[in-house]
């Protein structure tokens, strides 16, 4: 769905916002692009949508070259970039109606249905004539999503889609995206919220200082590490029993070099030890990202 090769964007001579990115988003993916603030996520998304030109490299979206054939691509793409945008003096409904009328395929017939359906999907069906100016941040975010969904896109490109939403709103958006994805829509979202990506995405890319430093299936990244985490009140006896296989100890929690928690459990219980918790160790997404990235790029150190 989205393929880029050596995609690079420079601003001026010194600032490299995106540096040689080879992105690969497949049909039906739930792709999460992670990265600290200022790592180039938004610039990358803007290039994918033809809003800025790349300095170097190629982009293909839905099999067509961008920006050359971007006008054929965009009608099949729903997007939200850098927060939602709406005319503050008009109601949400009027905003969607104008947006629908502005572009191709926006025949007057069915416009009201398209607008109502989009509002319904994001949970704004009952919204009244209040102008967007009076909307809460969460409502604006939902309106932005509604605008992205109005075309029934094959590909959704969402930059920080849950910004400003409360936990329930985040959950609702995630359920909505899951439903759309099940219906065949490819979802590409960028975020710096690990939890959001971890809960929703099947594939992740990690950006750091303009580079794509990691791109893989989430399941692969989070595969068991070959160690087992054990919590036991008899930690001292367990250390003595497992002699040498204990790699780390934090109070009554042990990290044991052992790939099969079931086998280890049997061994411990067989020796008369109590086990309160046991399970394979997995790297958290946070650990993966921290390992892959260097420093928060909005941090400015003294030279």
């Amino acid at each position: 769905m989205i393929v880029t090769r050596d995609l690079t964007k420079r601003y001026g001579r010194r600032i490299v916002a995106v540096d040689g990115v080879d992105l690969d988003v497949r049909e039906g993916d739930r792709y999460g692009l992670l990265g600290p603030n200022g790592s180039g996520k938004t610039t990358l998304v803007r290039m994918l949508l033809g809003l800025v030109f790349a300095t170097r490299g190629e982009i293909e979206v839905l099999g067509l070259s961008v920006p050359r054939r971007v006008r054929e691509v965009l009608p099949q793409v729903g997007a939200m970039v850098e927060g939602p945008g709406a005319y503050p003096h008009l109601s949400g409904r009027a905003n969607l109606t104008l947006l629908d009328a502005a572009g191709p395929g926006g025949g007057r017939r069915g416009r009201r249905d398209r607008v109502e359906e989009a509002l319904q999907r994001v949970g704004l069906a009952g919204v009244d004539r209040r102008p967007v100016r009076a909307y809460s941040l969460g409502m604006r975010q939902r309106l932005g999503l509604a605008a992205a969904l109005m075309r029934r896109p094959r590909l959704l490109v969402l930059d920080e889609p849950t910004n400003g939403l409360d936990p329930r709103g985040i959950r609702e958006v995630r359920d909505l995206l899951t439903e759309l994805n099940a219906g065949g829509t490819t979802v590409f979202l960028s975020s710096h919220l690990l939890g959001e990506i971890e809960a929703f995405c099947t594939r992740v890319g990690v950006m750091d200082a303009g580079r794509l430093v990691l791109q893989d299936e989430l399941a692969t990244l989070r595969a068991p590490t070959g160690r087992t985490l054990v919590a036991t009140p008899d930690a001292d006896r367990a250390v003595a029993l497992l002699d040498g296989r204990v790699e780390g100890r934090d109070g009554h929690r042990l990290t044991v070099r052992h790939a099969d928690p079931g086998e280890l459990n049997a061994e411990l219980v067989g020796a008369g030890l109590q086990v309160t918790e046991i399970g394979p160790e997995r790297r958290s997404l946070e650990q993966i990202v921290l390992d892959a990235t260097t420093t928060s790029s909005d941090r400015v150190e003294a030279a």
């Binding site: 949508l49 033809g50 809003l51 971007v70 006008r71 965009l74 009608p75 793409v77 997007a79 970039v81 850098e82 927060g83 939602p84 945008g85 709406a86 005319y87 503050p88 003096h89 008009l90 009027a94 104008l98 947006l99 009328a101 502005a102 572009g103 191709p104 605008a147």
Partner: protein, 243 residues
């Protein structure tokens, strides 16, 4: 896209506020003239102003001469300066572009909407100033309208009411063309900045500079190319060729 731009224009309260302000200026001037009956001395003050004292039917022309040099161009510069930069600031511009709307169509639609605004505003000013003129100054009893001496430099020329309407229509067309120039400058500046104020300010800077240079003899060589040079030339619609 043009329909969308027109909807945006006419659903914004500020469109009407600006129009009301444009109507207010000739009205205030008319009130002062009607209560004091002191005409501006010949050659000073706005064109037609001494003539309207004797004939209110000429007041629409006087109103045009009042709003044309400053007020109308400022309004157009403000609206045009905001038209792209304002959308960039609210974030709606990028959603239009990925809708997708072609950039050319967007700009043309914006320019058409601005021309529509000028027509709308002038139309309202013409109507209100005609009503003001008739109410405060009354019309001449005779069938024709005598053109004022300070404009024609020839007294006694009389035109019919139909002739007056025709000349006013010519005036409207001329002013619209002049304002397209302002709109184009402000619209261009609006595309290179995110600040609506900055774009409007830039367009006004161009106009003020032009106004200053028009009066400067040292700049006589470039005078014909200055955007404001011929702005008041529509007054010639009210002059009669005599030979």
């Amino acid at each position: 896209m043009i329909r969308v731009e027109l909807a945006k224009l006419f659903r914004r309260p500020r469109t009407y506020v600006i129009t009301v302000l444009l109507c207010a200026l000739p009205f205030i001037v008319a009130v002062f003239l009607a209560t004091t009956r002191i005409p501006p001395p010949p050659g000073q003050g706005g064109a037609f102003l001494s003539a309207v004292l004797s004939n209110g039917a000429l007041y629409p022309a006087a109103a045009m001469a009042l709003i044309m040099p400053v007020f109308l161009p400022v309004s157009v510069a403000v609206l045009a300066g905001d038209s792209v930069a304002g959308e960039a600031a609210t974030g709606t511009l990028r959603y239009l572009l990925i809708r997708p709307v072609s950039r050319t169509r967007l700009l043309v639609a914006k320019l058409v909407a601005l021309v529509t605004f000028v027509l709308f505003a002038i139309g309202v000013v013409l109507v209100t100033s005609y009503l003001t003129g008739m109410a405060l100054f009354g019309s001449q009893p005779s069938a024709g309208v005598a053109l004022p001496a300070d404009v024609t430099s020839l007294s006694g020329v009389t035109i019919t009411h139909a002739g007056l309407v025709l000349r006013l229509l010519g005036t409207v067309a001329y002013i619209v063309v002049s304002m397209i120039g302002v709109a184009a400058i402000a619209l261009f500046l609006s595309t290179v900045t995110d600040s609506a104020l900055g774009a409007a300010m830039g367009a006004l800077a161009v106009l003020v500079t032009s106004q200053v240079l028009v009066t400067l003899d040292a700049a006589a060589s470039i005078r014909p190319y200055l955007p404001t040079r011929y702005w008041l030339a529509w007054i010639d619609f009210f002059r009669e060729v005599t030979s």
